[in-house]
Amino acid sequence: MKIIILGAGQVGRTAAYHLAREEANDVTVVDVNDHLLRDLQDRLDIRTVAGSGAHPNILELAGAASADMIVALTNSDEVNMVACQVAWTLFRTRTKIARIRSLAYTGHEALFFDTDTPPPDGAGFPVDVYISPEELVTQYVERLIRYSGALQVLDFADGRVRLVGLKAVRGGPLVGQQLRNLREHLPNVDARVVAIYRAGNSIAPEGDTVIEHEDEVFFLAATEDMRQVMIELRRVDDAVKRVVIAGGGNIGLRLAQRIEDRYQVKIIERDAARARRIAEILRNAVVLHGDAADEELLIEENIDSADVFCAVTNAEEANILSAMLAKRLGAHRVMALINRPAYAEMMQSGSIDVAISPQSVTIGSLLAHVRRGDVVRVHSLRRGAAEAIEAIAHGSRGGKVVGRRVEEIKLPKGATIGAIVRGQDVIMGHHDTLVEADDHVIVFLSDRRHVEAVERLFQE
């Protein structure tokens, strides 16, 4: 697929990295900053064009005439929207994805239309999909807070099924037991363990696999059963009551707004003017003006009784340090927003409970559009090494997927069919489950390099 990425910022670079490492994609990155581009071109097998991404001549230089997809990820909503408009009007680019952050725009759905199903009057911006990294990250963090103990919580089939990754802890009823005992422990719940990582290495989960202390376990279950399964793998965590958020930026504020009615929320912001501004917006949350890495402030605000401490400022180093400090001062569970994969790896193995990588949260929504076959959703896991895919099975009986039992489907190595969603029903993927047409099939791939084999299965 020929892809043009506009913007070589944090999000653009990650997108370029993930898309270019797949053999099938030809990636061109456009940015106004020549230095950023040169640096990027040295590291990735991509082409770069310097200039403003919304200008028709620059888009033409970048090969818009033959591009299949344009992804506008600059930090200006307006540039992104105009770029999509230009690409559609002049070049008829099929898929147009724009990063649009401001709620002022995204609040009006009528502003945008999908060019596959254009409105009769043709009014609006031809943006097929808009993503807001901040919004995605906020939702993600919110789910992590709700499922205390989870490292990752990912939605499938509009939230009917969830994939949860968590660390097994001694004391959980299933820890030290074989996987097949899960069914005896929870006779009324259907769940499926799709992957186990022990000391960073993937282990294929079989019936006789024994879950050990510190294993990272990924399982799929219907959303309403989630909590019961989690309890099997670690001691019961008390329900979350008190949440401290460090950083009142875009993400911090949105997060506070979403959760302030459910939990007792304190939010720490360094900038006095910003602190006043968010205090005006928030209704229940307590806004504190100060430094999140200030020991005294944290102690004064009873950090030791906080259930969750969540550092989401723009500066990842500050996030790491304040989260480590909060942990040492007694916060029950600390999370930090960390951009660099290397930092995330270092931190999650020790001093910080959950390292939130905004890139892998965002990239999934892009990957769903480059996957061939009818792919609804893609989640990138373990810093891009693994992937979870929700695809729709098409075709007639006797095809590659439809009309076959799970055990008959030729999956590549390391791939597991975790669950099937049929209409409103969630069915876990057992070896004899029959796949029907239009089922949403959720596949877990422990090695992303086999993704093409999975794509082929779901292509007609």
Binding site: E23, V27, Q41, D42, R43, L44, D45, I46, R47, G63
Partner: protein, 488 residues
């Protein structure tokens, strides 16, 4: 995690693979030998087997080595690769009974082929077995657009690090331009253009009356601006205006940027050539040299007819400046400053990203623009003047790099020339031998006007090194010689 700052395992794997890839090319002259029944089949098959075995030996123990090539690895791979291929290509020459060649001569002939220099130590070409003649043409063709480019196009093994390799091999000051998003795609595009030009050349030569064997051989060596011929008298053997015209066109095209060819072809716009400032300057220099040469030749009554002078002047101006080195007569005997003037045009050479040698037109253009900028600044001390190519400004980093290149080129040239004179070669021969080698031309002046037979063994090694330095534009080799590279 490795503590080593060079990824030697990966380098070994790549070199092994490339050697195996190269060994396969030995099968073509073997087939030619079968066709002409000249008795060299065993020679090329044994060369194939030996190189394949050496390649396998290098590849097998390192085949599981993974990891990306980093900048440093790239330099090492390119330099090693050109040296190894130069040596490997010498194998058939060394093994052959006819001609009998020493190791030195065989390596010189092979490196001269791969670097598209075209200087030779062989005489009596017309009597050599056809398969060996063909083999000489083939290595020129392989070396023309670059062996790494070929490897990147054929093997998807180089990944991201492949760009570092391409950069180290591609001639010219600006190396970041990619024609397609993927390097493999860019390399394939370049080879496609190269292949098309060569095919067109074969057909044209054939139509003009060459035998198919000669047509293939000369098209190989003209498009690659190499200059090997299957005849001692070079293109002069054919004594045909049509063949000379075809040769001129092929050489001019081979000396122009292949990226430009590709873009003009994709856009179906000939105007792209004219809009390219480097191409215009390239033609202008060719035109000026031809004009001076015609004037001098006619003034001195060198030929019977002014038209013959024009024909010969144009042919040699193009042949020498594009660093091809085809001849129809001995231009070293031309009157006055003409032979030395031609030698100087080889320092200008062809366009960046072409198969030609020399310092490249674009670099001279940038230096010239710098010069005019200084003049403007003297007249208007407060003027803000940008160095531009066409409409595009050129960053100070590139201009600096061009100056650095000039300085290093001249120093290296002087040192090599002194070294060659040290081996007992007289001055004009030494000057022209190093100029012709470092600029990858072929023929020189004095004793090396038609071949390098009279040069001693030490002199041949110095010339061999000059050819490699010129082909890789000096810096990759200089990098390897700097202690900082090895210190990590």
């Amino acid at each position: 995690m490795s503590r080593k700052h060079l990824n030697l395992g990966v380098i070994q794997r790549i070199l092994g693979l490339l050697l195996m890839l190269f060994s396969v090319t030995m099968l073509v002259p073997a087939a030619v030998s079968l066709l002409y029944a000249d008795g060299q089949v065993a020679l090329f098959i044994s060369a194939f087997l030996i190189l394949m075995a050496v390649g396998l030996l290098a590849w097998l123990p390192s085949r599981r080595q993974r990891g990306d090539l980093r900048l440093r690895d790239g330099f090492l791979v390119v330099v090693l690769f050109w040296s190894v291929i130069g040596l490997a290509g010498a194998l058939p020459f060394f093994l052959a009974d006819d001609p009998r060649m020493t190791v030195t001569e065989a390596v010189f002939e092979s490196v001269s082929g791969f670097t598209t220099t075209g200087a030779t130590v062989l005489v009596g070409l017309d009597a050599l077995p056809p398969s060996i003649l063909y083999y000489r043409q083939q290595i020129q063709w392989l070396g023309g657009i670059g062996i790494v480019v070929l490897a990147v196009a054929l093997l998807p093994l180089l990944g991201i690090g492949g760009m570092q390799l391409l950069k180290a091999e591609t001639p010219g000051p600006m190396k970041d331009a990619k024609l397609t998003p993927r390097i493999a795609g860019t390399a394939k595009a370049l080879w496609l253009v190269y292949l098309l030009l060569t095919t067109a050349g074969v057909l044209a030569y054939w139509a003009a009356g060459m035998s198919l064997f000669d047509a293939v051989g000369h098209s190989f060596a003209a498009v690659s601006t190499g200059g090997y011929s299957t005849h001692d008298a070079s293109i002069g053997y054919f004594a045909s205006p049509a063949i000379e015209t075809i040769t001129i066109v092929l050489m001019v095209l081979g000396g122009a940027s292949f990226a430009l060819h590709f873009l003009a072809w994709r856009h179906r716009r000939l105007g792209d050539y004219w809009r390219d400032p480097e191409f215009r300057a390239y033609l202008a220099v060719l035109g000026a040299t031809t004009f001076i040469a015609v004037a001098v030749l006619v003034w001195n009554d060198v030929h019977d007819h002014p038209f013959t002078s024009l024909r010969s002047a144009l042919f040699h101006a193009v042949s020498v400046q594009t660093s091809t080195g085809y001849t129809t007569e001995n231009f070293a005997l031309w009157p006055g400053a003409l032979p030395v003037l031609l030698m100087f045009t080889t320092f200008i050479g062809g366009c960046a990203g072409s198969t030609a040698g020399g310092m490249k037109v674009i670099r001279w253009l940038l230096v010239l623009r710098q010069g005019t900028r200084e003049v403007t600044r003297l007249i208007h001390p407060n003027a803000e003047v940008a160095v531009k190519l066409g409409d595009k400004p050129v960053g100070p980093r590139i201009v600096e790099a061009v100056w650095g290149f000039f300085a290093v080129y001249l120093v290296v040239f002087t040192l090599l020339m002194l070294a060659l004179m040290g081996t007992g070669v007289e001055q004009i021969t030494a000057f022209s031998a190093i100029a012709t080698c470092i600029n990858n031309v072929g023929p020189g002046l004095g004793e090396v006007a038609s071949n390098f037979r009279s040069v001693n063994a030490a002199g041949l090694w110095i010339s061999t090194i000059a050819m490699l330095l010129g082909r890789l534009e000096i810096f990759p080799i200089l990098v390897l010689l700097s202690p900082g590279f090895w210190r990590g």
